[in-house]
Symmetry: C2
Subunit: 427 residues, 2 copies
């Protein structure tokens, strides 16, 4: 970690700079795969699965038998853990339901809105080094609560053509029936365009590598909505002289192990705690299986000594995806936080808790997007339709205002739609 | 209007096809303007304003004096109408506030979320043929309720370098202080990049022509969020033998006068009502100032005779921006509507009411995007931040599940962030 002691505004800017992402221009490649899938459907899907994943599949849809086998393959401990997490995530996301409330904005004019699940959604679960069954929970549970009628899950297989059993078990646990063995750009193309096997969806969710990200961006051009723009994961930890250095180092490493492009930022009001955390980092790093990745991430990372009074402006300027508050003045900060994805309060609230099981969603805005985007929630899986019903009396109350405004905007037919009604009432 | 009598599925598809939008590729042009604004700031803004709008301005920010003059320029009737609309829109959007509710997902694990206004938002109000002060209400009121700290409004001037007084009056009425005389691509570039005069914003809202739409898409590539993808406005009216043909014709024309690319669709269970509406259309068209526009829109439009039982699937397949229900079986339809922007129920509820004054928002998903997008609401101006606080007891309850899941995903540092805490508690 680079260390910054009471940085001036220029140094602070350096300390909070995210690693630049060289996305490259993958649009050509992505477009060619989409075009191919559009013309050749499943055949193209299978071709790219063979080419990129080295797997040849006859059947893309995971069978009932595979799902039964998955359940048997997992330990009871893991299944219990997944059920506990699912229960908490369900409880929190169910609390996000919005009741229909009729509002009489003026006599005879009643307006309301109603949340309706998006009919068809696509969830992408990456394969790669880790089987992200936790993401199945985070995307699948709100989709089910929202009442999405068709929930399509695509995930690449392992080299032997099977999907990790934890992913299959989790999917069936929460009620997802359609799991397809497809990954990468071809999965996103399949769900965006539809093939004879893979259904076309209206909105795409889920993380992925730079190819998947580019494919989701391209899908958006075709009118498919996406959850949010993607970027590397990040964590900011706020500490003071009372913080526990062991906890903080563990939290920083839990973020750093995600990827070499991850970033962690420690902001502290005390130099001693920074030094203690540095010592702890070295100690804990030694035993980590993903040590090399974490070390690279730490190179992109900063420890910053600041005055307490600067804390809020630093948090809000950085707009961290994850923010851990481990100070004796957490309560003072809480009201002032305006830019953050998810906030972890107090020394017994590690980021890991939100990543897996506290109940909050772990699909969050990265790369400073917490300034304008929310994390995934029940809202992400619904549209809110507005309704209005105006009585005879209501249109008499509101009619002349509409006529006046429509005329002033030069929209006479808008005005006339009211006038014919008022005339009819007067007889 | 093209007429379809009990169409089969192929004809129905034709009947519901939207006019194709030849957006062309404007990205080159848009990029060149963004690049210029990025380097030359206000100077570039002024150059393009002179080139595209034929107006030369020394000062982009609208002055207090101009706002005072605007108030004097409007009739009392119009000001009263705007105030009434503002009050209804405020009432309905204030009802969309979400209270903070703490959820204890399991003992010692408390999660909640909090809506926070997006700090900096940009509202674009087109100039052109109509001064869209109603859109100032629809975007400005939720922005103010959300607590957005900086609300920037850009709008092109008229040929004499002034902004229409209704736009200025409405802006000051609802509390918008920064109005800039800039339109088109250069306005979107200014708000996306920031200049010495125009502030950089995090999210852009508002309608516009194809250039503005292309500029908003380009802004999104730079990390600025936008309200929703744009398309021509549209209306579906559902009728039966009891409907009032005069009202329906007036509603269809109110949509058709928007632009030659607008579309209206009449779906009826009775052929006589379709014939009556056609006669009424001809009659009402004769007197319309925007007759030519409305006629062109009607050429893109359909009247469809269907069985009552098909009604819901037609509505949901088309996913209309505006949907008017003027039948004796409205109540039967309501629960089944899943894809629509805003719904107008009953014969005294014209679309005009929602366009101006009922309280609902008129910025709605077009082009079938009601399948996956909501209209603008208070939600559009906030981010929802999640929080969690776990007690010593809580981490003991939830800790082993997190450890189990992290280990199964191969993320040992995630596991360790819990293990160090459990170890510390056990002493």
């Amino acid at each position: 970690m680079k260390k910054f002691i009471y940085p001036d505004s220029t140094s602070l800017k350096t300390a909070l700079t995210r690693p630049s992402i060289d996305a490259g221009d993958m649009e050509e490649l992505v477009k060619s795969i989409f075009d191919d899938v559009s013309i050749n459907g499943d055949q193209a899907i299978q071709k790219y699965t063979e080419r990129f994943d080295g797997v040849s599949l006859n059947e893309l849809l995971v069978s009932g038998e595979e799902i039964s086998l998955a359940e048997k393959a997992l330990s009871t401990e893991l299944k219990t853990a997944i059920k506990l997490a699912a229960s908490n995530i369900k409880t929190f996301h169910e609390s996000q339901r919005e009741e229909v409330v009729e509002i009489e904005t003026m006599p005879g004019v009643v307006c309301w809105r109603k949340s309706v699940g998006i009919d068809k959604v696509g969830l992408y679960i990456p394969g790669g080094t880790a089987p992200l069954f936790s993401t199945v929970l985070m995307l699948g549970i709100p989709a089910v609560i929202a009442g999405c009628k068709q929930i399509v899950l695509c995930t690449p297989t392992r080299k032997d053509g099977t999907v990790h059993p934890a992913v299959l078990y989790t999917a069936q646990l929460i009620g997802i029936k359609e799991v397809y063995k497809v990954g990468g750009v071809q999965a996103i193309a399949g769900m965006s365009l539809g093939t004879s096997t893979i259904p076309k969806v209206y909105k795409l969710f889920g993380p992925g590598n730079q190819y998947v990200t580019a494919a989701k961006q391209y899908a958006q051009k075709l009118g498919v909505a996406i959850d949010m723009p993607a970027g590397p994961s990040e964590l900011m930890v706020v500490a003071d002289e009372n913080s526990n250095a062991t906890f903080i180092a563990a939290d920083l490493l839990s973020q750093a192990e995600h990827g070499s492009d991850s970033q962690v930022v420690l902001v502290a009001t005390d130099n001693t705690i920074i030094e203690k955390v540095e010592i702890e980092l070295t100690k804990q790093l030694a035993d980590l299986p993903r040590k090399a990745t974490a070390e690279m991430a730490l190179e992109n990372s900063s420890a910053i000594l600041v005055q307490k009074v600067e804390m809020l402006s630093i948090i809000n300027e950085y707009a961290p995806e994850h923010l851990i508050l481990q100070t004796s003045f957490n309560e003072e900060l809480l009201n002032g936080i305006v830019n953050a994805g998810s906030v972890f309060i107090g020394e017994y609230t590690p980021e890991s808790a939100g990543d897996y099981a506290s109940g909050t969603n772990h699909t969050l805005p990265t790369n400073g997007f917490a300034k304008q985007y929310s994390g995934v929630s029940l809202d992400s899986f619904v549209k809110k339709i507005t309704f209005q019903q105006i009585s005879k009396n209501g249109i008499q109350q509101i009619g002349s205002a509409i006529e006046e405004m429509a005329a002033a905007e030069g929209l006479d037919a808008h005005k006339n739609a009211v006038s014919v009604r008022l005339k009819n009432i007067k007889g």
